[in-house]
Symmetry: C2
Subunit: 424 residues, 2 copies
């Protein structure tokens, strides 16, 4: 078989390109000649490339150097007590690589060796215990993919369309495969029987960093699906994600996923710590507050096209893609609107069945350069439907920065450039 | 509520530690005094840690710097045409981070910009086509987790127990969530009708690197689950994994997963390229060869304890963990033996249901310092049972370096140190 490129096949490329253009797909070769990138031999097909032993831990290729976590300078006073955002506009599928997964620290990320790691369980237990890292590894462990979303994700948008990029409006989220020991296993090891009726009991969890970031978790949740996790996406947690051990509280706000987990106290009441009173509390217009807003309600957003990810191709076939998630369980359906919510089409889910994990959705469609007001609307297994911003404001006012799960709108112009807007 | 550490609770730690020791778990605090790592305030609980904006792309903490791909110097002549191995002894769960996922190049890893990327479909199609990168993004895409295993994985072990670490015996494998366009979609775009009866047709796939690494794939597989992939674990493929586009051939040997995918030709016969004749062919003792050994049969291995991952704790509770996979579909069961295959216990699967993907297994057990001959044995949905090394040698001889999926044995001594051994 002749593997050489013949002039006959060169002509075929041109026909092929023409056919694609007619069918709506822009061919790579122009109408006036062959595309040298496919018809001519390139340097990379002649010379050898890089060897295997040059990068101890592999990094993305330099052409992707803009796909990184970013922060918003005006949003935070200091990098020590700050946040950054996952570049979800540039990702696909569902897994977030640790290297670009958002971070939020309350007193900076601390460096804690496994050898120095201790976890104490105390309070209303029969036998207070202190575990070291190797102890944790001796209990039966599980693997689960879960999303972790900061309660303040999309928080700036309560005040209107503020941040022109889905990385900044929705990027305080990541989705990883965690390996860890169920918290209930460790609590039972310490003897929960001593706590009496568990229905009204709590655990108070805190980290080893200076902020300690203490949070109260009702016992029902603690005994359900909470994990004491030591791996994410197969490898050790990054320092910034709580190395060597963090708490994973599936479906609940990220602030409760305590990093550098140091202590778990069984208590008979919620502690009312700083992080669950003056912070991470949704305040209504009248100054009263929503109580116990732990679960992240169903939410979705279109990641492409979006302000940082404009349409890069001509008219014709187009994939609209985004992410949906619910702290209550599985995403059952996502609808997409191109006219600001007047009409809806049901999207295709990339993979179904994951609970409290990111779900990728796609709308395989065509585009002829018409202006669009793109929206997505998620539904979860409880029947809950993601609300509009108007509906959410009617319920909650605009006093809070937390728990904004409203429908997001992108305006896409005739050139395919997208912008963060609000529709009433 | 008083959050201070009282002397009463200090005494409780000691009781706790004693109770743990009695129950088989070594407490962190010694019998003679409190553990200052939990009873005294540490520096990291006083001072602020690192801010968020210091690492553009996040890397593992420095304490994990030994968890990297490694090569074996005597195994390969040159780093350009070489391999390295995933540190599976140090990972858990199922996902392999791209940064430590093994690499195999045939003429080095090439740097190819998205703008320079072209994919040609030619041969027995109605309309030969050339796609650029943005064209690929316009077709409906899918997300799937699949393992990629080099045909030569475990290849050195045909000759006996050679490499003292699971990273080196079984580390030519990774498992990632791929996003890509089904190959069938692109073939149909080019018009497969022109190929006549598809039952005896093939596709010949090649890469843009100098080796081109051409391989023939029967049309039935090409139309089944093969993906033209551009993301792995959510982000762009690393350069070394074929940026910007590689072929994903689920369950089939890694050499067919062509990187820097350049051309797909529809043919009426297998091409018989270098990579499918003189290489990647299993030769019997008599010099004849097994034909079309594409599928990676069911296989498993214990990753901990293993030579690079000795038992790090005392007697009592112990988790034995490992990986299982099958190119034919789902793993249905994994058994573990501690006596070199005389008796078996059924392991717990970390997560079931993934097809042609790594499955994590655990045996939650206890250890009293007895010597062990650890083995694992995988079964898949076809009923196939992973063979012993003796069974495999009887079938295949020892002439090949490919497709060694036999049961692996680790000898674990009374100190918990493991060694690669063979049992007859």
């Amino acid at each position: 078989m002749n593997r050489k490129l013949t002039s006959t096949s060169r002509r075929a490329f041109l026909r092929g390109s023409a056919a694609m253009a007619a069918g709506g797909l822009a061919g790579a070769a122009g109408a006036n000649g062959a595309d040298p990138l496919i018809t001519e031999t390139q340097d990379w097909a002649i010379y050898t490339g890089a060897g295997v032993d040059e990068t101890p831990y592999g990094l993305p290729i330099r052409f992707e150097e803009d796909v990184v976590r970013r922060n918003v300078e005006w949003l935070t006073a200091s990098p020590i007590s700050s946040i950054n955002f996952t570049p979800i506009h540039a990702l696909d599928g569902t897994i977030t690589p640790q290297g670009c997964a958002f971070e939020r620290h309350h007193s900076g990320a601390i460096e804690l060796r496994k050898e120095d790691y201790r976890l104490m369980i105390n309070g209303l237990v029969a036998t207070p215990l202190v575990f070291d890292y190797t102890d944790i590894e001796r209990f039966p462990r599980e693997n689960h993919v879960y999303f972790c979303e900061c309660a303040a994700n999309t928080g700036m948008e309560w005040a209107g369309a503020q941040l022109n990029g889905v990385q900044f409006t929705h990027g305080m989220i990541h989705n990883m495969e965690y390996t860890g020991v169920p918290l209930r296993t460790l609590l039972n090891e310490a003897g929960l029987g001593a706590a009496g009726d568990l229905a009204d009991k709590w655990v108070y969890v805190e980290g080893a960093d200076a902020s300690s970031n203490g949070r109260s978790i009702p016992m029902e949740k603690a005994l359900d699906d909470v994990l004491v996790a030591f791996k994410a996406n197969g490898e050790a947690l990054r320092m910034e994600h709580g190395y060597p051990v963090r708490l994973v509280v599936p479906g609940w706000e990220g602030n409760m996923w305590v990093k550098w987990l140091r202590r778990i106290e069984v208590t008979d009441m919620a502690v009312g710590s700083r992080e669950e009173t003056s912070k991470y509390t949704d305040v209504y217009e009248d100054g009263t507050a929503r109580k116990w807003t732990w679960v992240m309600d169903a939410k979705s957003v279109i990641t492409s096209p979006s302000p940082q990810s404009p349409v890069r191709h001509g008219h014709g076939p187009m994939v609209i893609s985004g992410l949906a998630w619910s702290g209550h369980g599985q995403i059952t359906r996502v609808d997409v609107s191109r006219d600001g919510g007047m009409s809806w089409e049901t999207a295709r889910l990339g993979k179904q069945g994951d609970s409290k994990a990111l779900t990728r959705f796609y709308l395989d469609t065509t585009w002829s350069g018409e202006e669009m007001l793109l929206q997505s609307r998620a539904m979860d297994e409880t029947g809950y439907v993601q609300p509009t911003k108007t509906q959410l404001r009617e319920q909650r006012g605009e006093n809070s920065v937390y728990h904004n799960n409203c429908i997001q709108t992108w305006y896409v112009n005739a050139e395919g450039v997208a912008e963060n807007v609000e529709v009433s």
